[in-house]
């Protein structure tokens, strides 16, 4: 793989290869926690932490990990960091830890982290892996926040718990229930892909 600059890696993680709407990875937790922005933010930060550090660890161990058992090793590395996150959340943010419930543990099976370890950290040195982990994590967190923003404003009329829409406005309760999550993410993927397709066409005509 050609050497990538940090800047290129960040752009890839945030936009061109954004884990959610380009690669359709990690949708599970993307939908479950996005009814409130606070929960989403904490989930996003936890995911950035786990992705970045497991990328670093996988990258450090990349030359001494036997290929045949690498999946198992990666899973255990990820699981260890998730346990750290879980303990930290329980200690400092018990309310949010309660609200997120099993979904903190489910970061382990979030395909984004495994995907980045497998596709990037295994072949690259420590620093680029760290940047890649951060970039993918931030790209993921931003999409989650976008989904959560629309769901919370439409469903509860608030942003981060602060009311922004007057109470005369009828709440779209459906938006904070499961179907709302599906619709919102579907629409966001639609919008983003329409923009992306135009960019692709432009590239083709100029080159």
């Amino acid at each position: 793989m050609a050497k990538l600059t940090s800047q290129a890696i960040i752009i890839k993680g945030l936009w061109t290869d954004n884990p959610v709407f380009r690669q359709i990875l990690g949708i599970c937790s993307a939908l479950a926690v996005t009814n409130l922005m606070v929960n989403t933010l904490i989930m996003g930060l936890s995911l950035i932490f786990v992705t970045a550090l497991s990328n670093v660890t996988v990258s450090i161990l990349r030359n001494i990990t036997p290929t045949r058992i690498r999946m198992m090793v990666q899973t255990l590395i990820i699981a260890s960091y998730v346990i750290i996150v879980d303990i930290l959340l329980k200690a400092y943010l018990p309310d949010i830890s309660e609200a997120l419930g099993a979904y903190v543990g489910l970061i382990i099976t979030n395909c984004i982290i495994m995907g980045r370890c497998e596709a990037f950290a295994r072949q690259n040195s420590v620093w680029p892996s760290f940047v890649d982990g951060i970039a993918s994590g931030v790209g993921y967190a931003l999409v989650l926040l976008a989904v959560a923003f629309f769901r919370e404003t439409a469903g509860f009329g608030s942003v981060f718990g602060l009311p922004v829409i007057p109470s005369e406005w009828t709440r779209w309760t459906i938006m904070v229930m499961p179907p709302g999550a599906f619709f919102m993410l579907g629409v966001i993927i639609w919008v983003v892909r329409s923009i992306g397709d135009k960019e692709l066409k432009k590239d083709e005509t100029t080159s």
Binding site: I24, L25, G26, I27, C28, S29, A30, L31, A32, M72, T75, L76, A79, S80, V82, I83, D86, I87, G101, A102, G105, L106, I108, T109, N110, C111, M114, I174, M177, P178, P179, G180, A181, F182, F183, L185, G186, V187, I189, W190, V191, R193, S194, G196, D197
Partner: protein, 197 residues
């Protein structure tokens, strides 16, 4: 009597009112990737039912007889993942050896299942909700059947959709998510029947 009843209620709730895919969003990755046609959806669904039922039972035993007595409950994520991975590997070897027919049907799907969040999700939910042994198995089996129901229905819809005119950027994941939303709406109609937390 009461224990048996609650397990029965949990079984049905896991299929309809608390469908693991449509209300808890677990197993979305493979759901979006595999649900293109009915046959492969069914294959993956069967594998999920099988693995989910067994791993919920195994993980229940591991959690309450191994981790709780030795005060290691913080390490449940690692323990559960290892149990699931080991179980899937074992099943794969056994059916490859003894039942080539079943291996052809389920074989390709088994490795996918280790990273299927639905399996780990079921195990974590059963711990969080304090189910007893019977209820946990019922929840595992019901969760698997509910997941299969959703993915097979989606496979059927997507086969028809192949002939529909969909805006280009909405094709694939976009339209699948919107249909999943409609299915979740339909499943919400069941929610008056029974409620579990």
């Amino acid at each position: 009597m009461e224990v048996g009843l609650s397990a029965f209620v949990i079984f049905f709730a896991a299929i309809f009112t608390n469908n693991i895919l449509l209300t808890n969003f677990l197993g979305m990755c493979s759901f979006l990737a595999i649900s293109r046609e009915v046959n492969s959806s069914l294959g993956l669904g069967l594998a999920v039912i099988f693995v989910m039922t067994w791993t919920s039972a195994l993980n229940y035993l591991v959690y309450y007889y191994l981790l709780v007595p030795s005060n290691l409950t913080q390490f449940r994520y690692i323990a559960f993942i290892i149990v699931i991975a080991a179980f899937v590997q074992l099943v794969e070897m056994i059916i490859e050896r003894y039942s080539p027919v079943l291996y052809v049907v389920l074989g390709v799907f088994l490795p996918l299942i280790t990273v299927n969040c639905a399996i780990l999700g079921v195990c974590l939910f059963m711990i969080i909700r304090d189910y007893n042994f019977l209820s946990s198995i019922a929840y595992g089996a019901g969760g698997g059947i509910g997941w299969t129901l959703a993915i097979v229905a989606m496979g059927g819809i997507r086969q028809k959709l192949a002939n529909a005119k969909i805006p280009k950027p909405l094709e694939g994941p976009g339209i699948t998510l919107i249909i999943a939303g409609l299915m979740a709406l339909a499943f919400m109609g069941f929610s008056g029947m029974i409620q579990i937390q």
